[in-house]
């Protein structure tokens, strides 16, 4: 089987879907498109491992299908973030309550877990990885890829083989109530900070500091220059900016709600 997909403005197909199809579906099933693309990924079992090709180049080999799907998703994320047109791509999760709650943090900060728990609490899903801020409307465009979940995360499925360190899960697997949101403006920007065992604590972040933080998590900043910074400034100017320290993401969602940030 072969399907076409759209990751923001990046269009591609995946060939050779067979045994790999469930993992591929969990990763990018919500990105299905119908536009003829010119980039092709192919996943094949080779000996006792899996191989990922992009056109004719081997991108990755891994002992499990999850490994090559993760590698494919990493490549898709990178190209989608750097090639998106008319938008500034920020490394952040995004969900929609009344407006968008942007969750921007480095790997290990709890970004994906907090994003998932917000969806579990009723928010619409936009992305867990790349928030594309439209340069005209300042709305966040949907990029509803599967969530990349690392071992140790509360979202990591029980019973996974020991040699699997990361899996990709569709948001619907994590929350049956999940719904996919459309473009929306940003109302709250959250900088997550996971600290094992910590109670949830919310502190305001100066807007200029948040612009600096977002700029450090924007892949196309050098190419797009001052115009991209201007977009970040305009988005931050209209948003509440907070840092959330937490040991339990569900409790962090409750704390955000108590502060009126999810109204």
């Amino acid at each position: 089987m072969t399907y076409a997909y759209e990751a923001l403005d990046y269009r591609f197909t995946v060939e050779g879907l067979g045994a790999s199809e469930p993992a591929v579906e969990a990763a990018i099933g919500r990105l299905r498109g119908d536009v003829s693309p010119d980039v092709t990924y192919r996943l094949d079992p080779v000996d006792a491992a899996w191989e990922l090709r992009k056109h004719d180049t081997v991108l990755s080999c891994a002992p499990t299908v999850d490994g090559v799907v993760y590698a494919m998703l990493a490549d898709v994320n990178g190209v989608a973030a750097t090639s998106v047109e008319s938008a500034v791509a920020v490394h952040a999760g995004a969900v929609v309550r009344r407006t968008v709650v942007l969750v921007s943090g480095a790997s290990g900060s709890g970004k994906t877990t907090l994003t998932a728990r917000l969806v579990e609490a009723g928010a619409g899903y936009l992305t867990d990885e790349c928030a594309a801020l439209d340069t005209t409307t300042l709305h966040v465009r949907p990029y509803p890829k599967g969530l990349s979940v690392k071992r140790g995360s509360p979202l990591f499925p029980a019973g996974c083989p020991d040699d699997v360190d990361v899996v990709t899960r569709d948001i619907g697997e994590i929350s049956a109530a999940a719904w996919q949101a459309g473009p929306a403006p940003v109302g709250v920007i959250v900088q997550p900070r996971f600290v094992r065992g910590s109670a949830s604590d919310i502190e305001r972040v100066p807007r200029a500091e948040m612009v600096l933080h977002l700029s450090q998590n924007t892949s196309s900043l050098a190419a797009k220059g001052a115009a991209a910074v201007g977009v970040l400034v305009d988005v931050v100017r209209a948003a509440e900016c907070v840092r959330v320290t937490f040991g339990d993401a569900r409790s962090a969602v409750e704390a955000l709600d108590r502060e009126g940030l999810l109204a």
Binding site: A208, V211, V229
Partner: protein
């Protein structure tokens, strides 16, 4: 030393702080750095700027120079301020 703002910068004000884009980097200025930044006019020597800020805020010139010296050094290092005379 007569400080002036480096050319080709974009500056935004957010809640009393400044965000500056210059030479491929984003900078954030807050507090006393903003006051200094706003006082720089490419004509006034640094010592005179210190005197004006000290007078405006009821501080000694020495105290202002002590506080702002490292700020000026950082702004020069970052390329945001240059010496008009150099």
């Amino acid at each position: 030393v007569i400080p002036r703002h480096a050319p080709e910068m974009d500056v935004w004000e957010l809640d009393g702080e400044l965000v500056i884009w210059h030479a491929g980097s984003v900078h954030r200025l807050g507090g006393a750095a903003v006051l200094l930044w706003q006082a720089v006019d490419a004509r006034t020597p640094l010592e005179e700027l210190y005197r004006r800020l000290a007078g405006a805020h009821g501080l000694s010139v020495a105290a202002v120079a002590t506080d702002l010296g490292p700020v000026v050094a950082r702004l020069v290092d970052d390329g945001l301020l240059v010496d008009e005379e150099s």
